[in-house]
């Protein structure tokens, strides 16, 4: 029977058919559109609505941008140039941008904030990116003093004497190394405080009269614009992280008193709006300080903004601490590490890594909250914008100013959030 088989099956294919093209609706752009834009009738309606919305926006906004006026000295001039057409009057930015950035800082000294900003970038580079040379960290440690001196000016002795406090603290720390961590830190802090409170003023006065080395002083009331936002934001960010860590540890502490104080502080600060704290700084601080003391408004604001961010930071870091498995703490104890070594080597690196998104969110929030200083009379960008809108030249203008200010804030905040994503990826150690 087997030999008849060949006749019953007249044709057997021995090669593969060439692959046919998939149906037109299942390939290329058509497929993508079908899957991503018209996948079901709900999706189709949403797509059409979105396209309509985008088209409407473009139709409305395009002439506004296309007819932009860059050269004019007032809104009326802009309108004359536009001659009835809709158009943006960016001239307001062109005329006022230096004020929006520097406030009333003396124009011939603009190089100082610019230099301070450039040096700031150099100082944060080794902290942010592992590729930067590690020796730069010494520069980062010195930068706060350079930055303050460049911005406020005055005799160089102020910042040098302030820095001396840290040096004295460090020397005491080394000197007391035989006595254990508690006495060491206590002694160092007390020595530094004694220096700052009792000797610093005297030394500064003596040195300033004997050797008047310095640059022109610029009072705080001349600060303004984005400069003030960046000064407050950067100081708040730099101070709130370490303080927040301490406060979070305080809240996790076994000592009831320390824990109680931390909880009350955190809950109080988180329970009231930042604006009330800022008003406390501007209205009430004179009640709480010895009669006759009067210190810089920007410094007060920095302190309040820092306290505010510290409470939020502490809660974020507490979340990270709580997320660590119990075994990590026990492992550190089993290795015989003392409290601070365990925190520094085992707990914090992991807890901080977990809390990166929260920490950066707090930073972003802090930077955005610097706009609130307008309420206590500091001329931040919004304050400057209101002042510009109040002049007869630019009355009635708002989109251009707020787009400019908003865009700069956006760039800062968006880069911070992207950096946090990059940092999370870099520090990712689990294999997912």
């Amino acid at each position: 029977m087997s030999d008849t088989h060949a006749q019953t099956v007249p044709f057997v294919r021995d090669t593969m058919l060439p692959e046919a093209e998939p149906p037109a609706s299942e390939m290329g752009a058509t497929k993508w559109v079908r899957e991503n834009l018209f996948n079901g009738w709900v999706s189709a309606i949403l797509t059409l609505l979105s396209i309509a919305a985008v088209a409407f926006l473009v139709y409305e906004l395009f002439p506004w941008f296309a007819n932009s006026v860059w050269n004019a000295n007032s809104l009326t001039e802009c309108r004359e140039i536009l001659d009835g057409a809709t158009g943006a009057c960016w001239a307001v930015i062109r005329v006022n941008w230096l004020q929006l950035i520097f406030g009333f800082y003396p124009p011939e000294l603009y190089w100082r904030p610019i230099l301070a900003f450039v040096l700031l970038l150099v100082a944060v580079a080794p902290v942010l990116f592992p590729a930067a040379p590690k020796n730069l960290l010494y520069f980062s440690a010195v930068y706060p003093f350079i930055g303050v001196w460049l911005l406020w000016g005055g005799p160089i002795w102020g910042v040098l004497v302030a820095a001396m406090g840290f040096v004295i603290g460090y020397l005491v720390l080394r000197l007391l190394s035989a006595f254990g961590a508690l006495i060491q830190t206590g002694g160092a802090v007390i020595a530094a405080l004694i220096w700052w409170i009792f000797f610093a003023g005297m030394v500064i006065d003596t040195l300033s009269t004997a050797l008047p080395i310095g640059i022109e002083a610029v009072p705080s009331r001349e600060f303004g614009g984005f400069m003030i936002s960046i000064v407050i934001g950067v100081s708040g960010i730099a101070l709130s992280l370490p303080l927040g860590i301490l406060l979070a540890l305080g809240r996790q502490s076994n000592m009831p008193l320390i824990k109680g104080v931390s909880v009350v502080f955190i809950e109080f600060i988180r329970g009231v709006p930042l604006i009330t704290l800022l008003f406390t700084a501007s209205l009430l601080l004179n009640y709480f300080l010895p009669p006759g003391t009067n210190f810089d408004l920007i410094l007060r604001v920095i302190i309040m903004v820092t306290l505010f961010a510290t409470a939020y930071m502490a809660e974020v870091i507490r979340g990270g601490l709580a997320a660590l498995p119990r075994g990590q703490y026990e492992g550190a104890d089993a290795l015989g590490l003392d409290y601070w070594k365990a925190q520094r080597l085992i707990i914090m690196p992991q807890a901080l890594k977990i809390s990166i998104p929260g920490i950066v969110n707090t930073f972003i929030g802090l930077f955005k909250d610097t706009t609130l200083v307008v309420f206590i009379g500091l001329l931040d960008p919004i304050g400057r914008a209101s002042a510009i809108r109040a002049t007869s030249d630019w009355q009635g203008i708002y989109w251009e100013l707020f787009i400019f200010i908003g865009a700069i804030f956006w760039v800062f905040c968006f880069s911070m959030s992207r950096y946090s994503m990059y940092l999370e990826r870099r520090l990712q150690t689990d294999h997912r």
């Binding site: 999706s43 604006i275 009330t276 009640y287 956006w410």
Partner: protein, 416 residues
């Protein structure tokens, strides 16, 4: 010979206060306590001396003196002859009204944007991403001021609505959007029940009756659904309830509204301005819209994170059990996602409540502008006013976070 199994007993030495972990915490705490008390004493002493130098005392009497200023938006009866305390209450109510309105709209915006951002539709997802990234990276103060500027500078003036061919017209003949605010229809009752006096406030009995009837209908409907579930559990057949639900929910309120002679009071152009209806001032609108769109972006991210946090296996398991997709969402995904979503959501509500204090920027008369603003300026009682205001904000915040903790404890995973 007795074996000594314990550690060698050492007598207590002073050095152990520093080096022995058993005693060291006491040393640190006592030291901290001393510092704390010294600091507090220093602050109090400074305050007393400063107050004495200014010739001021510390008293809250100013709350009972005549305020002498008007408040544009007053939910309860108030004018300049009332007291500063009453002004503070009006401010607090304005704060709470704004907070509740902004929380509601921000939640709606946030849930829609969060769900749409997860949509498979490319263009919708991208648009929502743009919305979220734009709005949360720009300070809320800018949004508030922009909305306020748009409202007061690009909207038509009431006089533009006049004439045979007016330059502006009302939306659906009911809502007038002007540069003095938005006028919406308000409720009117022909056979009003009147109002009663409650601690100096006159709440309208009509509104209370309407709210009570709605609450009772909802409660009755819940009872009906529970009964239906019981029957289903016992017999396996769920009785039809939809027409009963509709009847219970709609009939009583319709009858009540009819009995009260309810009708809408439309805003009308009379003289130089609109009369009738409810006027929503520009300050309220700017705060409300500004806070809603800004916080909505944050809520969108929270909702997205909550939905993404639910394991895909949950959906697959529900499908494997033969649960319909809509029921999967309602019975399986949502209850679990809510557990992730609600705590950060409430903390956004807290943020909204605190951000209402930005009303200062657009002249919204909230607690900060009344008690913490004009009252302080008029009476010179910064210390008392600020302390009272912080206390009130603190109480409101703590009340919200207590509610969150109760909810958290209720929905927490019961782990063994």
């Amino acid at each position: 010979m007795a074996m000594d199994s314990g550690a060698p007993q050492r007598s207590f030495t002073l050095g152990m206060l520093l080096y022995d972990t058993r005693y060291r915490s006491y040393t640190i705490q006592i030291f901290a306590l001393i510092l704390l008390m010294l600091g507090a004493a220093w602050l109090v002493d400074n305050t007393i001396r400063n107050l004495a130098a200014l010739g001021k005392d510390f008293s809250f009497d100013f709350l009972w003196s005549t305020s002498g200023y008007d408040i544009s938006q007053r939910p309860i009866e108030y004018d300049s002859t009332y007291t500063h305390g009453r002004a503070a209450i009006v401010g607090l109510l304005n704060t709470l009204i704004l907070a509740v309105m902004a929380c509601a709209t921000a939640t709606v915006i946030g849930v829609i944007a969060g769900v749409l951002r997860l949509s498979k539709n490319w263009i919708v997802a991208k648009l929502m991403t743009i919305y979220v990234e734009t709005f949360r990276n720009v300070p809320v103060l800018i949004w508030i001021i922009v909305v306020s500027a748009v409202m007061s500078e690009s909207m038509p003036a009431p006089r533009d609505f006049r004439g045979d061919t007016p330059a502006a017209s009302m939306v659906f003949d009911a809502v007038a959007i002007t540069n003095r605010g938005v006028y919406v229809p308000g409720p009117l009752f022909d056979n009003s029940l009147g109002s009663f006096n409650f601690l100096g406030v006159q709440p309208s009995l009509d509104i209370i009756a309407v709210i009570a009837v709605i609450a009772l209908s909802i409660w009755a409907n819940v009872l009906l659904l529970r009964h239906a579930a019981k029957v289903q559990n016992a017999t396996g057949i769920r009785p039809k309830t939809w027409w009963k639900s509709i009847l219970i929910l709609l009939a009583p309120i319709t009858i009540l509204l009819f009995a009260l002679g309810f009708h809408l009071d439309y805003p009308e152009l009379r003289g130089f301005n609109f009369q009738g209806g409810i006027q929503m001032r520009n300050s309220l609108l700017a705060m409300w819209l500004g806070l809603s769109i800004y916080t909505g972006a944050f809520i969108a991210e929270i909702v997205r994170a909550g939905i993404l946090a639910i394991n895909k296996g949950q959906t697959e398991a529900a499908f494997a059990l033969g649960v319909q997709p809509s029921k999967t969402m309602r019975l399986v995904i949502l209850p679990q996602a809510l557990r992730v979503i609600v705590p950060p959501l409430i903390s956004q509500y807290l943020n909204i409540t605190k951000n209402t204090s930005l009303g200062l920027a657009v002249g919204y008369m909230d607690l900060r502008s009344t008690l913490g603003g004009i009252t302080i300026n008029q009476t010179g009682r910064e210390l008392e006013g600020m302390m009272l205001m912080m206390l009130i904000y603190l109480v409101v915040s703590l009340a919200i976070s207590t509610a969150m903790n109760i909810y958290n404890n209720r929905v927490r995973l019961k782990e063994r």
